[in-house]
């Protein structure tokens, strides 16, 4: 463990800006809910009515969590923020752990560190400590900000502590993943999969069979019932899970070589497959793992949503008020649910689209772009091959979500004829996904270091989806999200004009990125 202290300070220094943004973002997620909900309803009666409507909407429950005490500010904060807060700290922990363990090992920088007076376990322990500090910071800020609103102290603290513990569980998961895989990308994929599965499990559990929610750390967090009969013991589950995953990570670490994963790499082909002959096939080869992984993820998420879709009507059941509102809005309950599900799936797929649009940046940073561009491959061709994979890959990933929805729907209702419709309806959301990819590409074209800001586009779209209705965003702000521009299929019918317009915007953004890229220095 020698040198852990020095490393912790060094890591914290490297992380100070990202850490600040994560902490502010996480805190804002909770705090903005609290203050805005407080202002939103003039009378308790109005609040009660709104709460009744939310409680009876299975789409919202699947998206956010179990509906408890929604007619109180604290209940609203917990409901709206807990699941997303857990995802935020999960991603934060994943990136902190990844950047300081597997990524360092893969790049060889780790060796330089280890050659110093540094204990074998020190880098890993330092990464763990930095993640713990970060999660404690976020949890603490959330608690303090909620107390300042003011909300009940014990429940505010519980929301913060639960959030920190959730982050620690995902820290442990990320540490384990970092031991198993030799590549950083795979490590992120594995951890992301666990986070996504935790979210999806509790979505299905909250709407249907509650037992499933108990398989998810995010579920445990929500089962602490902050602001609605607080109980602390689910926090013990979180703490134990964090402890166990970290122990497992250390155990695996002791049994592997530095620089390698658990699985030794096997020799590969001495010659390239005849198909690997152009920048197109190279781009596909580099991204096919991501396309397949994300497609399977979206398929699973689609299956989860699809399996509860047809029950949407039953769940709403006795609440006439809610039924009236939905019908007045011109929609069928089941359609409303699926429209929401498709939007969420499209947002998830945007994760693939953006990371795929960031791939050229990774290639440039690593020096691979230079090697390819020194061959008879022009910049345009190189970039265009990456764009093609992003576009086709996004379509496949979005389609996989639709296939999941349709497949589950078919299983539940026995009606398989709708599968094609589900896929097509999901694909009507594709242009919005491509706008986010196009935005990322534009930023990349202008300057590689700007490219990661593309994620802000996705964050904004999520904020609009989740909060715009509740916080009554002005229309102008809402319509900045490409998802708001498209017809809400299947509640509304498909709008060719909107589809083409959003697709056109995506093309323009991407073309702008290309234009800038062909005119700047590479590498």
């Amino acid at each position: 463990m020698t040198g852990t202290g020095v490393l912790v300070r060094a890591f914290l220094r490297r992380e100070r800006w990202p850490l600040l943004w994560w902490a502010l973002g996480g805190t804002l997620l909770y705090w903005s809910q609290a203050i805005s909900v407080k202002e939103l309803y003039s009378t308790q009666a109005e609040f009660d009515r709104a709460a009744t409507m939310m409680e009876s909407n299975p789409a919202l429950i699947a998206m956010a969590g179990p509906a408890r005490a929604l007619n109180t500010v604290g209940g609203q904060v917990t409901w709206q923020s807990a699941a997303f807060g857990a995802i935020v700290v999960g991603l934060m922990s994943m990136f902190i752990v990844g950047r300081h363990t597997r990524a360092e090992e893969e790049s060889g920088r780790d060796e330089l560190l280890r050659a110093g007076v540094v204990g074998r376990r020190a880098p890993m322990t330092a990464a763990l400590l930095v993640a713990a500090i970060a999660n404690t910071l976020v949890g603490g800020l959330v608690a303090v900000s909620l107390i300042s609103v003011p909300l009940a102290v014990a429940d505010s603290v519980a929301l913060g502590v639960g959030l920190t513990l959730c982050g620690l569980v995902f820290t442990g998961v990320a540490l384990v993943a970092a031991q198993l895989t030799a590549g950083t990308r795979t490590m992120y994929g594995l951890t992301g999969l666990v986070i996504a599965a935790s979210y999806a499990l509790r979505a299905v559990g909250d709407v249907g069979n509650e037992a499933l929610s108990w398989l998810s750390p995010i579920g445990w967090y929500q089962q602490m019932y902050a602001f609605s009969g607080l109980r602390w013991w689910p926090a013990l589950l979180l703490a134990s899970a964090a402890f166990v995953t970290v122990l497992v990570a250390y155990a695996v670490f002791e049994r592997r070589d530095i620089g390698a994963g658990v699985f030794a790499s096997r020799p590969g082909p001495a010659r390239a497959h005849p198909a690997l002959r152009s920048s197109w096939s190279l781009a596909w080869r580099l991204q096919r793992g991501a396309v397949i992984g994300w497609s399977l993820g979206l398929l699973a998420a689609g299956l989860a949503y699809g399996s509860i879709g047809n029950d949407a009507g039953d769940l709403m059941g006795d609440s006439d008020a809610a039924r009236e509102v939905m019908v007045a809005a011109g929609g069928d309950l089941v359609d409303g649910f699926f429209a929401m599900a498709m939007t969420i799936l499209a947002l998830l797929a945007s994760g693939f689209a953006i990371s795929s649009a960031l791939r050229p940046r990774g290639e440039e940073d690593a020096g691979h772009a230079e090697v390819v561009l020194a061959t008879a491959t022009s910049r345009t061709r190189w970039l265009l091959s990456q764009v093609c994979v992003t576009v086709v890959g996004s379509a496949v990933v979005v389609g996989a979500g639709g296939l999941g929805l349709g497949g589950a729907y078919a299983l539940v209702t026995g009606d398989a004829s709708e599968i094609g419709t589900f896929i097509w309806q999901s694909l009507t959301w594709l242009p919005a996904v491509l706008v986010l990819a196009g935005l990322t590409r534009l930023l990349y074209g202008l300057a590689p270091r700007l490219a990661t800001l593309g994620w802000l586009g996705l964050a904004y779209a999520v904020v609009v989806l989740v909060f715009a209705e509740i916080l009554r965003f002005p229309e102008r702000l809402r319509s900045l999200s490409p998802f708001e521009r498209l017809a809400s299929v299947p509640v509304e019918s498909f709008d060719v004009g909107a589809f083409a317009a959003v697709l056109g915007a995506a093309t323009l953004l991407s073309a702008g990125g290309w234009f800038a890229f062909t005119r700047r220095d590479v590498g």
Partner: protein, 304 residues
Amino acid sequence: MSAPIEIRQLDKRFGATQALDGLDLTVDEGEVHGFLGPNGAGKSTTIRVLLGLLRKDRGEVLLLDGDPWRDAAALHRRLAYVPGDVTLWPNLTGGEVIDLLGRLRGGVDTRRRDELVERFELDPTKRARGYSKGNRQKVALVAALASDVELLLLDEPTSGLDPLMEAVFQDCIDEFKERGRTVLLSSHILAEVERLCDRVSIIRAGRTVERGTLAELRHLTRTSVAAELAGPAADLASLDGVHDLVAEGHRVRFEVDTAALDEAVGVLHRAGVRTLTATPPTLEELFLRHYGDELPQAVEPTST
């Protein structure tokens, strides 16, 4: 057709740093041209401008009679590049990378590829993640040498190679040159430069400070002389071009500019030579003079 590489007064600035500051470089057809200079002098930047990766700020750059920025892809069919720090896609094998890069350039001569893999003792079935630096370097070298091109741009291509492989590399460059092809070789390995290069250009702080054949460059510098004389040679001290004179009794040691060598030997001769050793400047001395902070007064840069 003009020279394969013609650079005149090339400027390139990165933010506040002037990376290239009026650089000149001419590489003639069929020659191996050494491209030398201390770290950060602008060698890699020059090569990256030649590859069309960086955009020049000012000056003229002609590569194989084309504009390296505008005609990048077309020109790259006719050249191959080996970077000094080769990074490869971690999950592709060395063999796959060699084939891919060859095909991207327009085709691989599989017989030649296999022969080179053999000569460089490369295991092409290993994933790039598992290669050492030297092996990654070999992958890039094989990919470049296996392609049928007119020009090689090599940016410290042998860093990390063991001496045996260094010899293989030198043989390969010889063969390449025998076919009348051109090489621009940036290197810090002086033995390699001396062995391979017909002419060299030395750059410092983004500007060319010296160019010519090694013999010409040697001519510009000093010879070390040590002699045992029959009598005193007092005139030596007053001779222009004699430096660092140490006289101990009848023994003298000094450095002399090439231009003053004849006169100095005359002085020695008059004093009566018992023993005499004259050592031509080593390459190291040559480069240290140009790399070091203080530029010697004796020789003005000959950039014309």
